[in-house]
Amino acid sequence: MVAEIGFGALIVAFVVSIYGIVAGIYGARRHAEPWLESGRRAMLLTWPLITLAVLCLVALLVGGHYEVQYVYNVTSSFMPLYLKVTALWGGQAGSLVFWSWLMAAFASAVTLRKWDRDREFLPWVIVVTLVTLAFFLGLVIFVENPFVRFWQMPDGRQAVAMFAPRGALPLVPMEGRGLNPLLRHPGMILHPPMLYLGFVSFVIPYAFGIAALVTGRTDDRWIRITRRWTLVAWLFLSLGLILGSRWAYDVLGWGGYWGWDPVEIAAFMPWLSGTAFLHSVMIQEKRGLFKRWNMILIILTYALVIFGTFLTRSGVLSSVHAFAQSAIGPLFFGFIAITFLGSLGLLLYRWNDLRSEGVMTSLLSREALFLLNNLLFMGVLVVCFWGVIYPLISEIITGQKVTVGPSYYERSTGPLFAALLLLMGIAPLSAWGHSTLKTLGRALWKPLVASVVIVVGLWVGGIRAWSALLAFWLVALVSLVTLYEYYRAVVARHRRTGENYLRALWNLAGRNRRRYGGYIIHLGVVLMALGIIGIELFQTETQGTVQPGGSLRLGNYTMLFQRLDVFDTQDGRNVARAVVSVFKGDRYVGELHPRRDFFYDSQQTMTIPGVRSTMEDDFYVLLVDWQSSAQGITFKVYHNPLVNWLWVGGLVFILGTLVAAWPDREAEPTRARATQSLAAQRVRP
C-alpha cells in the first residue's frame, strides 16, 4: 500500500508539473493572470507531493520491505537507521527521486518571493523549472521506478513490476543485499545531498536567464535577482566537493583526496563554469559588459549540471555499450541536447539585444582581469570535459577503451591553476574601469616583496624544487595581498570613524559582504592550495610486509606492528584490525588501527586507514593484505605533509561564501529611504 501511495504521488506530481508548464506558457502568451497564478500554485504543489513519495520510500527502506526491489538492493537488516534513511540516495532510482524532491523544493521557494517588480519573468521561470522537474519525474515514473516489487509468477519465474502480474504472488526476500560498503560512512549523510543541492539550485539562475531571453529583458535584473541563488548553489556545490574529497581520503584508501575520476570531474565541471559565472556577472553589474557571455555561462552550467547527473547515472562511463543498453542514458542525452540547443537558439535570437553597454578602458582593469579569470576557468573546463569524454570517443571510433588518468589532468590544469592563483593576487588590487601598471604596482609592491622574502626563506630552509617554490610563492602572494587589503581598509575606516580595529573589520565586512566575503574565499583557496601542494609535491609512500614486532620506516616516521585482531561485528562485518604504534624519530606519538571490513551481505570489502593527523602532516597507514602472505601482514604507508590545510581552507572557503551570500536586510530600506528623501528634495524648487 505504501508503495502504491508513493508511486501515485509521483504520478500526480508529474501531471501537475505538465499542467504548470502548459498554464505558464498559456498565461504568458495570453497575458492571462489567473493562468499564471494557477501555474505558480501547480509549482508549489509539486513539493508536498514529492515529499509524500519520499516519505513512502523512506518508510519502506526503514521498515525493511525487501519485496520492493530498490529496498532489497540498497538496505539490509544489519545497517544502522541513519544508513537506511540515507539509502534514499544510495541507488539510482532513489537518487533521482531525491533530485526531484530538491528541485521541487527550490522551485517552490522561488514562487514564494515577491514578484511585483518582475512579473514578466514568472511564467518562464515556472516553465523552465517545471520542465526540468517533469523530466526527472518522467525518468522516475517510466524508467527507474523505485517502488517496483518482486513477484512470483504462476510458472515459477520471478518478475519485477509495479503492480501484480496476472496470477502472480508477492515475493518477499528474507534479507536485502545492503548498501555498497563505500557508501556506509557518515559522509553519506551530507556529501550527496550537498552536491545535489548545488546541482538543482543552479537551475534557478538558469531559469531566470532563460526568462530574460524569452521576455527580451536584457538589463542585468535577472542577474541581480539570482545573485544569492547563484552563491547558494555555488556554496552547496563547493561543500559537496570538499566533503567528497574528505570522504575519499577517509574511506577509499588510496592515500589521496582527489583521483580525477570521471564521477568527481562530473561534479567539478559545473563548479568551474559556475565560478566563472560568479565572477563574470560582476562585470555586467558594474560595467554593463559581457551580457552574452553571462548567458552562455549559465546555459553551460545548467547543461553541465544535467550532464553531471547523466554521467553518473547513464552507465556511459562503464562502456558505450552499457549506455546503449540503458534506457536512461539516451533519454538524458536527448534532454541535454534539446535544452542546450534550445537555449543557444534563444540566445542567438536575442544576440543583438545583448550588446555590451560599456567599454573596456584598460587592460589591467578589474573587468579585463576577470575576463582572463574566465578564460582560465574555461581552459580547465575544456581539459576536464575532454578528458572525461575522450575514452567514449575512442571506444566509438576505434572500439577500444582508453584511460585518461591523473597525469593528463595534473599536467594540463597545473599551469592554469597557477595562473588563477596569480590572478587572485593581482585582481583585488585593480580597479573597475581603469588601472595602470603604476597604480597596480603601487598597491602590489609591498606584498610582492614580502612574498619573495618568504620564498627565499624556504630556499634557504632547503626546498629546492622550482615547482614547489613557485607554488609557495603564489600562495604567499595571494595571502599577503588579501590580508594587506583587509589591513588597509580597516586602518582607513579606523581613521575615518574612530572605531577600534576589530569593530572596523566587522563593519567593513558587513558593509560590503560580497567583496570581503570574496576575500575570505580567496584566503580559503590559498589554504587549500597549501594542502594540495603538500600532498601533490611532497607525498611519500612505502609498502612492506611485516610480522608482529616488525616495523616500517618512512622518512622520520617508524610504524611498529603490534598485532592483528580479526572479529565479527553485530552489523554484519568481519573486521581485520591491526594495531600499530607510531614513532616520530624516537618519540612515541600514538597508536593507529588500520583495518579491512568485509561486509557479509554485499560480499565486498572496504579499507579504512589509520591516520595520525596534525597540521604539519598526516601519517596514513593502510592494511593492504593480511591473508595471502605467510611472511606477515602487508601495510602501505603514506606521509602527507600539510594535507590538513586543505580541510581548514575548505572551512574558511565555506565561511567566506556564507559571508558573501548572507542576506543584507538593513541596507536596502536605508538606501531606499535615503534615495526617496533625496528624490523628494530634488523635485523641490
Partner: protein, 177 residues
C-alpha cells in the same frame, strides 16, 4: 707449560671477543625493531610501475591501489617480470598486448589519441585569440554607448553633486544622526 698458558690466554680472549660480539648482536636485535622483509624487487619498485597503470577490468582504479585479488596477481606479475630483468616499458608493452591500451594511465601518443594532447591547448589558444579580439573591440567605444551610465565616462560620485549628497545622507543615517 707456557704453551698451555698461551693457549689458555688466547682461548680466554677469543671467548671474550665472541661473547662481546654475541651481546652486541643480541642487543642489536632487541634495540632495533625488525624492519619489513622486502622481497626482491620490493613492493615500492612494483608500485612505482603499478601507479602509472590501471586495473584492466575495474573502472578507473589505479593498479597500485586496486584491492581485488586479480590486481594483486597482476602486481605479482610485475614483480616477476622485474626480477627477470624486464624494463618498465617492456612490462607496460606486455600488459597492453594482453589487455589493451586501457591499462595505461594515459592514451599512447599515436593516431587518434593525439587529440587528447592537442585539443585542450588548441582550444585555450583559440580562447586567447577570442579574448584579445573582444578586448580590442570593446576598447573602441561605440558612440551609442558613450553616454551610458555604466560607461567609462559615467560621472563618479566625486563629480555628481546628487551622488555626493546621496552618499552623505547614507553616511549620516549609518551614524544614526
Amino acid at each position: 707449560m707456557s704453551k698451555i698458558k698461551t693457549g689458555e690466554v688466547r682461548f680466554f680472549w677469543q671467548g671474550w671477543v665472541w661473547g662481546a660480539m654475541l651481546v652486541l648482536i643480541l642487543a642489536g636485535i632487541v634495540v632495533q625493531p625488525v624492519l619489513a622483509q622486502q622481497p626482491t624487487p620490493s613492493d615500492d619498485e612494483v608500485n612505482a610501475i603499478a601507479k602509472t597503470m590501471y586495473c584492466p577490468v575495474c573502472e578507473n582504479v589505479p593498479l597500485d591501489v586496486c584491492p581485488t585479488q586479480a590486481c594483486a596477481q597482476w602486481r605479482e606479475l610485475i614483480r616477476q617480470k622485474l626480477a627477470e630483468g624486464w624494463t618498465e616499458q617492456q612490462i607496460k608493452d606486455y600488459f597492453v598486448a594482453q589487455y589493451g591500451d586501457r591499462v595505461l594511465g594515459e592514451p599512447p601518443r599515436r593516431g587518434l589519441h593525439w587529440l587528447v594532447y592537442v585539443l585542450p591547448p588548441l582550444s585555450f589558444l583559440i580562447g586567447v585569440v577570442i579574448v584579445i579580439n573582444v578586448i580590442r573591440s570593446m576598447r573602441r567605444p561605440l558612440s551609442l554607448n558613450a553616454s551610458s551610465p555604466l560607461g567609462a565616462d559615467a560621472p563618479s560620485a566625486a563629480e555628481d553633486p546628487y551622488l555626493q549628497q546621496l552618499e552623505e545622507e547614507l553616511r549620516r543615517r549609518e551614524r544614526g544622526e
